[in-house]
């Protein structure tokens, strides 16, 4: 069995355990132990990344990635949904930074504006509207915590193994295709990035843009229709439970 597989397995298992411990379940010392395990797991997974030794030059990426992932973990582990939302906002900021790091300027800004600025605020609005006083029971318990953590870790493990393992096993066609740095600079990384993005968006993908616009309209109408029903008396539902 290859060392790669063993390492992936260790990483996945410890990630699962760590996440399991971190989830709000009232395990004593759960949080620090979980954080430690997750850190170990992330370290193991990170060690699988090629040429991590040159991390100093990639520190920007690393910091952004760490912020993104850690705040993502915080998002799912905090009890108070408002904190969750705020951590998610931080995670979004990290993502936006990652986008910028890749030269996707528009996306970085759009993520902040659309997600952090609009969607997240909407979330918070709804939370304000719907959140009961104090901490609800359902925010303090997790359903099927271990199974969920295991499944999530398994998914990550499989994805990691796929990404890393496939690259290492044999050179795939994508790897062989040498990216022309000059072409990259003149296209995705070009100074008139926005103009080019806009050109392809409203050129090649015009139809898709129109469809997306229609989708937005439909969603708008649908939302109004759904919310409009709130004040009508309703029957049904499982009244016996909770």
């Amino acid at each position: 069995m290859s060392a790669l597989f063993v390492l992936s397995a260790i990483g996945a298992v410890s990630l699962a355990l760590g996440l399991w411990l971190l989830l709000p379940r009232g395990v004593p010392w759960g949080k620090p132990l979980g954080a430690l395990l997750v850190a170990v797991a992330l370290g193991v997974i990170a060690s699988l990344v090629p040429r991590l030794g040159a991390w100093a030059s990639d520190s920007v990426f690393l910091i952004l990635a760490a912020v993104t992932v850690l705040s993502a973990i915080a998002t799912i582990t905090f009890r108070n949904p408002v904190y969750c939302a705020i951590w998610f906002g931080l995670s979004l900021l990290g993502t936006a930074g990652l986008f910028l790091f890749q030269g996707a300027q528009f996306l970085g800004v759009a993520t902040i504006v659309v997600y952090a600025g609009a969607i997240l605020v909407t979330f918070l609005f709804v939370l304000m509207l719907a959140q009961p006083k104090g901490q609800a029971v359902y925010d303090r318990v997790s359903s099927a915590a271990f199974l969920s953590a295991l499944t999530g870790a398994l998914a990550v493990g499989v994805l990691t193994l796929t990404i890393v393992g496939v690259w290492r096993a044999e050179p795939g066609p994508s790897q062989v295709a040498v990216v022309d740095r000059a072409a990259l600079d003149s296209d995705v990384l070009a100074p008139d990035h926005m103009a080019r993005l806009g050109a392809s968006l409203f050129g090649k993908q015009l139809l898709a843009v129109e469809v997306a616009g229609t989708l937005l309209l439909v969603a708008l109408v649908g939302t109004v229709a759904i919310v409009g029903q709130i004040h009508k008396p309703r029957t049904g539902g499982d009244a016996s439970h909770v």
């Binding site: 379940r25 009232g26 990344v49 090629p50 990635a65 993104t68 993502a72 973990i73 998002t75 799912i76 949904p81 939302a85 998610f88 995670s91 979004l92 990652l98 890749q102 996707a104 528009f106 996306l107 759009a110 993520t111 659309v114 997600y115 969607i119 909407t122 979330f123 719907a130 009961p132 901490q135 609800a136 029971v137 359902y138 925010d139 303090r140 318990v141 997790s142 359903s143 915590a145 969920s148 953590a149 870790a153 998914a155 994805l159 990404i163 890393v164 990216v179 072409a183 990259l184 995705v188 993908q205 989708l215 969603a219 939302t223 919310v227 709130i230 309703r234 539902g237 499982d238 439970h241």
Partner: protein, 148 residues
């Protein structure tokens, strides 16, 4: 950082985001948090797509992310409307309230041990009298003052 390594790193970050969002979606019971988690999964996919776009020097990745943003916005709007409706019906954001999809005669899924609620903060804060209303007078105080 070479393009390949960069791609791998982005894919890994994307995978992690996706996986964490997945776990959150599975395990959290607050419907709003669940939707936060689903948005997080979308973010993971977006990160991967941007990485691929850079790697192939193609706008497709970024364009897809733009559409993901659009769809996410639609989804958020509708999902929140649905959440509000559901909340209105039951007064709870708990997803476990809605278990009608289960088999007939199957007992509803109940939580095992609910950890005790954290002790409420016992501190009392001073209460301000609402403006424009005569404050209630403490009888003792009034009596005491009159004696003085």
């Amino acid at each position: 950082m070479s393009e390949v390594a960069l791609l791998e790193n982005y894919l890994l970050v994307g995978a992690l985001l996706f996986g964490i969002g997945l776990v959150g979606f599975f395990t959290r019971r607050n419907m709003i948090v669940m939707f936060l988690c689903s948005e997080m999964m979308l973010q993971g996919v977006s990160v991967s797509l941007v990485g691929w776009g850079r790697f192939h020097n193609d706008w497709g990745g970024q364009l897809l992310v733009i559409f993901i943003l659009t769809v996410a916005a639609c989804e958020a709007a509708i999902a929140l409307a649905v959440v509000l409706t559901l909340f209105h019906q039951r007064g709870s954001l708990d997803i476990a309230v809605w278990q009608q999809l289960r088999e007939e005669n199957q007992a509803p899924h109940l939580d095992i041990a609910v950890p005790p609620a954290p002790i409420e903060d016992e501190r009392k804060w001073p209460r301000l009298t609402p403006a424009g209303i005569e404050p209630d007078k403490d009888l003792q105080e009034v009596l005491h003052r009159s004696h003085m």
